[in-house]
């Protein structure tokens, strides 16, 4: 019997090593806050964090960055006046800024086996300096490579024991695409439901992309 449900956060996060690349889903909501607290408690170091933004002064992204466990942050923007902005200014955090659509697409590519792609996004900007560009169909395009995670931390509304997931409204955001882009995809789900309870056509993230699920009721 396939059963991806694990009893607690410690079991869910077991095996995360120093130096891991962590994909952290969420955009204002849909962020797996309890898993982040567990990651902080677990103490893994030298992490590369991939998230939409560097966050503010409070919240999961700020907390994991403030813990000093992250060597590098890959995201689409950082507020200068934030934990991430100040760590970067102090030379304590490496930063790779990626346009938001390119960030999502690089992870989708990783999940889809695409080895590289060209996009006009960012091609005529400072972000393209020193990188390979090419004119395709008359447009200047920038070469981008997939962005794969060792671990993805995912938030869901419902999950079953196969790891099929639903997400609430705009809390879906990066969750399905990060789930497909990591070697170990760990989910915190508000509800655990019996196999078959999610209508097949209503699964947002299929269990094939999910390895572990922990029930976090609130």
């Amino acid at each position: 019997m396939i059963d991806k449900i694990v009893p607690d956060v410690t079991a869910a996060l077991a095996g995360i090593t120093d130096g891991a690349v962590i994909l952290l889903a969420g955009f204002g909501n849909g962020m797996p806050e309890t898993l982040v607290k567990g990651l902080i408690a677990g103490g893994a170091k030298d992490l590369t964090l991939v998230a939409n933004s560097g966050g503010r002064d409070a919240g999961p992204t700020a907390e994991i960055l403030a813990s000093g466990q992250c060597r590098k942050l890959i995201c689409s923007f950082v507020r200068p006046d934030s934990v991430a902005g100040r760590l970067f200014a102090a030379g304590k955090l490496e930063l790779e800024i990626v346009p938001q659509g390119t960030l999502a697409e690089r992870m989708r590519a990783a999940g889809a086996g695409i080895q590289a792609f060209y996009t006009p996004t960012g091609a005529d900007t400072l972000l393209a300096e020193g990188r390979e560009t090419r004119v395709i169909n008359g447009r200047n395009c920038l070469l981008e490579y997939p962005l794969r995670g060792d671990v993805a931390l995912i938030d869901a509304w419902e999950a079953d024991r196969w790891g099929n997931l639903t997400h609430r409204e705009s809390a879906r955001n990066f969750n399905p695409v990060m789930a497909m882009a990591a070697d170990l995809t760990i989910v915190q789900s508000r509800h655990i439901v019996p196999l078959g309870a999610i209508p097949p056509a209503s699964v947002h993230t299929p269990g094939v992309f999910v390895h572990r699920v922990v029930h976090i009721p609130v």
């Binding site: 955009f27 204002g28 909501n29 849909g30 939409n52 933004s53 689409s76 923007f77 950082v78 507020r79 200068p80 902005g85 970067f88 200014a89 930063l95 800024i97 990626v98 346009p99 938001q100 659509g101 390119t102 999502a104 697409e105 992870m107 989708r108 996009t119 006009p120 996004t121 960012g122 091609a123 005529d124 900007t125 400072l126 972000l127 200047n140 609430r168 409204e169 705009s170 809390a171 879906r172 955001n173 990066f174 969750n175 399905p176 695409v177 947002h204």
Partner: protein
């Protein structure tokens, strides 16, 4: 004497020009207010890059859904007919030419349609790109909403060439400022409209690029 539009006035002026049926993304800042001025019976579908198709106005305080945010992380509602997608699909919409219109704020626009809206200097260490570069290259039309001159040193944001780092090259179709509406044409900026009381001379004085009138 002329009276400049305030930020709400710029948003309202843009809303007048959006026809029924368009699929539209609104950036942070002045553009966010545009949807407030599109009457509900004019069916314009608003996209928010965190995966919302059919974004509606803010909810009543007792109707807030904590799972429903826009790209500025403000609480919103969903219009009947709206839907949700994940982030990669949402940016496929933005990058794949599916938006009839995107309206962005900017620091500067150049007469060839270059836009600068994410950094005030090449040395700015902390970068705030977000989704602007994706939206700028991907929408069928890019309009910009901004004040005509900067508040600080009074320099014109309507330029022959941008002085700030580019967001994208040759993509802006139209600029709505507090003073005028300018179309980007192969010859440069063509003035489509001015606020009441504005003169050609006064508008040109406030524009670093040469303006065209016909």
């Amino acid at each position: 004497m002329f009276r400049p539009l305030d930020r709400v006035g710029i948003a309202a002026r843009i809303a007048r020009d959006i026809p029924e049926g368009w699929f539209v993304n609104l950036g942070i800042g002045i553009p966010t207010g545009v949807s407030d001025h599109v009457p509900i019976d004019r069916e314009v579908i608003f996209h928010s890059e965190n995966g919302v198709i059919g974004a509606g106005p803010a909810p009543a305080p007792d109707q807030v859904n904590p799972y429903l945010l826009n790209a500025g992380t403000q609480h919103i509602t969903l219009r009947t007919g709206g839907s949700f997608v994940h982030h990669a699909d949402s940016f496929a919409i933005a990058r794949g030419g599916h938006l009839d219109l995107c309206v962005l704020g900017a620091f500067e626009v150049a007469e060839n349609g270059d836009i600068a809206n994410w950094a005030r200097s090449p040395d700015e260490q902390v970068k705030q790109v977000g989704g602007a570069m994706d939206l700028a290259i991907g929408a069928k039309r890019l309009w910009v909403a901004m004040e005509h001159i900067t508040k600080g040193h009074g320099g014109s944001r309507i330029r022959r060439a941008c002085t700030y780092p580019l967001t994208a090259k040759a993509v802006v179709r139209r600029v709505y400022t507090d003073l005028a509406v300018l179309e980007v044409t192969p010859r440069g900026f063509l003035v489509l409209d001015m606020v009441d009381g504005m003169t050609r001379e006064a508008l040109q004085e406030r524009s670093e690029a040469e303006l065209h009138w016909t």
